[in-house]
């Protein structure tokens, strides 16, 4: 059973392998991928997306480096751990605080883009820049 299907946006301005990494992590956060699930093989991914096979392997190596998946020789690449966080689930205090903050931002007259820019700016300031693209 194929549990995840990657969508590659060639106009996204995000490196293709990062799109695979991000979509995998997103699926791990949302619980769509769970420990023990097998990721699609490089051949399956490239047959469907017509991207370079090395890109898929690079994405999987990156996920492996982060301890999220592990290759089992001859069998495929399997999910090791989930990224689903109870702290960020619906109903959690952190999420409620952020929602309240966004309500205040809207009351203060900020629109969606203003909020996104402000959020991204503080995110970078507090939690560091987005990870640089490794070569």
């Amino acid at each position: 059973m194929r549990v995840i299907e990657y969508r590659i946006d060639r106009r996204a301005g995000v490196a293709t392998y990062l799109q695979i990494v991000q979509q995998t992590k997103q699926a791990l956060r949302l619980g769509l991928l769970q420990p023990g699930d097998r990721l699609p093989t490089a051949k399956e991914v490239v047959a469907a997306t017509a991207i370079n096979p090395n890109t898929v392997l690079k994405a999987y190596r990156e996920l492996e480096r982060e301890g999220l998946v592990e290759p089992r020789p001859g069998l495929g690449t399997f999910v090791r751990r989930s990224l689903a966080r109870p702290e960020s689930a619906a109903g959690s205090p952190l999420r409620a605080e952020l929602a309240a903050w966004m309500d205040r931002a809207r009351e203060a007259g900020l629109d969606r883009e203003d909020v996104a820019a402000l959020f991204a700016s503080v995110l970078d300031e507090r939690l560091g820049d987005a990870p640089p693209t490794p070569n």
Binding site: I8, R10, K43, A47, A48, A50, N52, P53, N54
Partner: protein, 321 residues
Amino acid sequence: MTSEYAGDPGAAIVARGLGKRYRQTWALREVTLRLPAGRICAVIGPNGSGKSTLLAMAAGLLAPTTGSLSLFGEARSTSATRRRVAYVAQDKPLFPRLTVAETLRFGRELNPGWDQAVAERVLRDVDIPTGARISTLSGGQRTCVALALALGKRADLLLLDEPMADQDPLRRSRMMGALMAEAAEHGTTVVIATHVLAELDGVSDHLWLFGAGRLRLAGDTEAIQSAHALVTGARRDGERAGDRASNPGLPPELAAHAVVEARATGRQLTVLVRPGGTELEGEWITREPSVEEILLGYLRNPTAPPLLLDGGPTDAPEVAA
């Protein structure tokens, strides 16, 4: 000439000082490059820039006028190296009177390592009936048959000259998917010549850009990308105001960097550079350009300095032709 690269089996293609002259005209000059095995290489350039000449030489169909070319460490074209190479020429020569199935049988008889299942799967993917006669197929369908033949050969190196030029978008993506699936499974090296870069966006991981018979960009796609920066800033007073001046007066802080292209639009100046050692001073917004932006910059500016990362003697600054 014995190449020092002979015996470099990790490289699918090594060329050194390669040149080809037709009568008085050089189609290709002083080309030095190295393609590691397993890469998907895009060969880009305007028509007549030397792409097809390079592919035909790699296929062993044309002899070089100067220099050397070796495949998988073999300096000479032997029947053993030819067996490892499949070449799909631009005009896709097939026998018009044969059916598709007969064409595949032909491929099976000529090629010891023939893989009928792969060839049939490719044709099924793109809905080409094996009973159809070649003469009744469209140009795009014939290309698919030629690609199916090349894949059925199970070659280690596929040389494809404009393989997607006459394909509709759906068939193009299926063909490319089939090609990449084969490469994923067998580690096949694929060299694709095209003048439509968008065809190979996200597909290629190695790049050769040709212009007027010379190599202008060569190397790993990411390395080429990270060697460039696209900087945007405001033009200062005193700089000539022109609407779309194509190399407008440049601010002095850019002089230390290799400028590929500078374009002015209104008050804005956009410059594609290969940054030198020094940090760029002043109010500039710097970002990494897309591969397409880089290629367009070089294509619009034939005099931009070449960047050759494949290694070899032409890395040195070029002397005038």
